[in-house]
């Protein structure tokens, strides 16, 4: 087990190096004078700024050396500074990330909350009405893109009715407006985001569970006189959820980087809309910083998934 944790940590570090290096190349490999690439079109272009950039990015050093010093700064939390707003990248992330995190977490939570019962029910009633109808509904959820769902929800909840008094756009912060006001603004975008992962989660859980329910140990649990509900929850769910945990991890990563559109539709000041903004303005440093951050989160989540495996399946711990 200790050896395994060691392996995972080594792998984590290697992946992080690769990810950061690739993102770093973003500024290094753009054609033309790197200064031109780094400097956004709208930024002032006087000699002082150009010199500052040359010095700050060590543009006269070889690539690897530049990566080294960039990385050294990055680990201390210095991802550079926007040449348009003069804002530190880490500052921007700190400001925007709570919204994106909350959306991601809430969407994954909604998805799991629905997917677990739907998946279990589908497997338990395999091939029957409950299975077929829930599969069909889930399929619809999967085939509609989140932004359509988002637009539909805005139309439904605000234009058509003011059900629950949910605001269609904007964001209330927990810190200033309290939890309830915050959730009121978060619930619709999070729900729109949750449909696709809900479909993936429930389909995966259902198919794994169908397999588990055919296992001998499920039959022996029945032969002990245990109740169906108990057997499903206590005996069948855990061995069926290994792939689910993987895909939850992957989906968290996808959600984290996939809130862009939804943030746009619901006018939420999250990390995604900041990234989009930076792309419009060709604010390379900002783009790079946010990308590194998201990629790092992605890798960290997947490592966490590996460790959750250990908790779920004692057989893996042995290896």
């Amino acid at each position: 087990m200790g050896k395994m944790i060691g392996q995972r940590v080594v792998r984590l570090i290697a992946t992080l190096l690769a990810v950061t290096f690739l993102t770093f190349l973003l500024t290094a490999l753009l054609p033309g004078d790197p200064v031109n690439a780094i400097l956004p079109p709208d930024a002032p272009r006087d000699q002082a700024t150009v010199d500052r950039i040359r010095a700050e990015f060590n543009l006269d050093d070889p690539l690897l050396v530049r990566y080294g010093s960039w990385l050294a700064n990055a680990v201390t939390g210095d991802l550079g500074k926007s040449y348009i707003t003069d804002q530190q990248v880490t500052e921007a992330i700190k400001q925007r990330i709570p919204i994106t995190f909350e959306l991601t977490a809430l969407a994954a939570f909604f998805a799991l909350l629905l997917a677990v019962p739907v998946g279990i029910l589908g497997a338990y009633r395999e091939g029957r009405f409950a299975d077929k109808s829930s599969s069909a509904m889930v399929q619809v959820g999967l085939s509609v893109p989140p932004f359509i769902v988002g637009i539909f929800l805005i139309w439904l909840f605000t234009v058509k009715t003011s059900f629950l008094g949910l605001p269609s756009t904007g964001w209330n912060r927990i810190t200033t407006d309290g939890l309830w006001e915050n959730l009121r603004t978060a619930v619709l975008p999070a729900f729109a985001l949750s449909l696709a992962p809900l479909a993936y989660f429930s389909r995966l859980l259902r198919s794994d569970m169908v397999g588990t329910l055919k296992e001998d140990f499920v039959l022996s649990a029945r032969a002990k006189g245990l109740k169906n509900r108990y057997i499903l929850g206590r005996h069948a769910l855990r061995p069926s959820s290994l792939s689910l945990v993987t895909i939850v991890g992957i989906q968290l990563g996808i959600l984290l980087s996939g809130t862009v559109v939804i943030e746009q539709i619901f006018a939420l000041p999250g990390l995604g809309s900041r990234l989009l903004n930076a792309i419009y303005q060709r604010d390379i440093v900002m783009i790079q910083g946010i990308t590194v951050f998201i990629a790092t989160m992605y890798v960290l989540i997947n490592t966490a998934v590996d460790f959750i495996y250990l908790a779920i399946d004692p057989r893996i711990r042995k290896r």
Binding site: E215, D216, F217, L219, S220, A221, R222, A223, K224, G225, L226, K227, Y230, R234, H235, R238, P239, I312, D313, P314, R315, K318
Partner: protein, 377 residues
């Protein structure tokens, strides 16, 4: 002559099975996995169900226990367990019987224990449900059980996962689970087939000991007549979903009537031979259960088969004693049987030739089996 375990005791019938049929509907037709089985079992008695792979032993025991076999099953006949009509009970009602009054030990302890649930929980969960005891009481019971099935360091094993135990230990755990609520009848479906030869005897002895101590009824399913020799009161031999011979164990071994039983006897592994090879395997394959052969289903493989066998299916009839029943036109040991054999030999019937080539039944195997089953002389 007394049967084992019934001395000075009048036991009532705990299980009555009448004309039980379990058919599976497949696109290709009906699989008649169990096709008209009848027997009864008294309290404290052990019945051995013997037959080749595919003869319907597992389907039979699962049908009696009313465990689901799929939704293409058609079951008919009657199973009466302590005067309750098992086949008409709801699943809810069965849940009160399963684990409490009827229990099962499965073939493969590698798959019948949940790999992600600790041993302790698996031994106690149904005890808590059925006997309505507290967690600590259940644990105390479980530890006692684990010690009872000779699991060393039961306390430590309680918190172990199945993969941390050897196959034999896991089967002991399965037995402890099955015995936990003190069932009235125990089904053991090839409980040792998946285990090492050396462990097999220990597990079988353990089952026997527990069965006798608890005066519990037991159905021991196996494909190996050698396994049931010293361990059962009665034996039912199954072929293609039917019982073809049924008798008290000692009687079956000493007065074999059915050619299939004879063939099974010839295939008991010789324990005096190191590699445990079979004396002779039975020629041919078990029949197709969707389109079984006409007449006697064993006829394509039987060394004594005559025209009559291929036309008309024999039904169970009594031998010298009512306790001994068999379904065969030319029972082993009769002059008619001898005549049929010679006729087939002359006609060079392949299965008869194969049978003749296989060594003659090793008398010591039979003597040994008879001695073990406590009957004979």
């Amino acid at each position: 002559m007394e049967s084992r375990g019934t001395v000075g005791r009048v036991d009532r019938k705990i299980l009555v099975v009448e004309d039980l049929k379990t058919h599976f509907k497949l696109p290709a037709g009906m699989v008649k996995a169990v096709d008209g089985v009848s027997f009864d079992l008294k309290q404290g008695q052990t019945l051995g169900v013997v037959g080749e792979s595919g003869s319907g032993k597992t389907v039979l025991s699962r049908t009696i226990m009313r465990l689901t076999l799929g939704n293409n099953v058609h079951t008919s006949g009657r199973v009466s367990f302590e005067d309750r009509d098992i086949l008409s009970l709801s699943n809810k009602e069965m849940q009160k019987i399963w684990g409490l009054e009827m229990a099962m030990v499965f073939q493969d302890p590698m798959t019948s224990l949940n790999p992600v649930v600790k041993i302790g929980r698996q031994v106690t969960e149904h005890v808590r449900k059925h006997l309505n005891v507290s967690k600590s009481e259940a644990k105390a019971t479980a530890l006692q059980l684990l010690k009872g099935v000779r699991i060393p360091e039961a306390e430590a094993r309680f918190n172990a996962y199945p993969h941390q135990l050897s196959g034999g230990m896991r089967q002991r755990v399965s037995i402890a689970i099955a015995l936990a609520c003190g069932p009235k009848i125990l089904f053991a479906d090839e409980p040792t087939t998946a285990l090492d030869v050396t462990v097999q005897h220990q597990i079988l002895n353990l089952l026997n000991l527990q069965q006798q101590e608890r005066h519990m009824a037991m159905i021991l399913v196996t494909h190996d007549l050698g396994v049931v020799a010293g361990r059962t009161n009665d034996i039912a031999v199954m072929y293609a979903g039917k019982i073809v011979e049924k008798a008290p164990t000692w009687m079956l071994f000493s007065r074999v009537q059915h050619p299939y039983t004879e063939a099974l006897l010839r295939s008991i592994p010789r324990t005096n031979q190191k590699n445990h090879t079979r004396l002779s395997a039975i020629a041919g394959r078990p029949p197709d259960l969707i389109n079984p052969p006409q007449g006697c289903k064993f006829s394509p493989r039987c060394p004594y088969a005559q025209d009559k066998c291929r036309e008309e299916e024999p039904t169970l009839q009594a031998a010298q004693s009512d306790e001994h029943q068999f379904a065969c036109w030319y029972p082993v040991g009769t002059p008619e049987n001898k005549e049929a054999f010679e006729k087939n030999l002359a006609a060079q019937l392949p299965q008869t030739l194969a049978f003749a080539e296989g060594k003659v039944v090793d008398e010591s195997v039979i003597d040994n089996a008879v001695a073990l089953s406590g009957g004979g002389s």
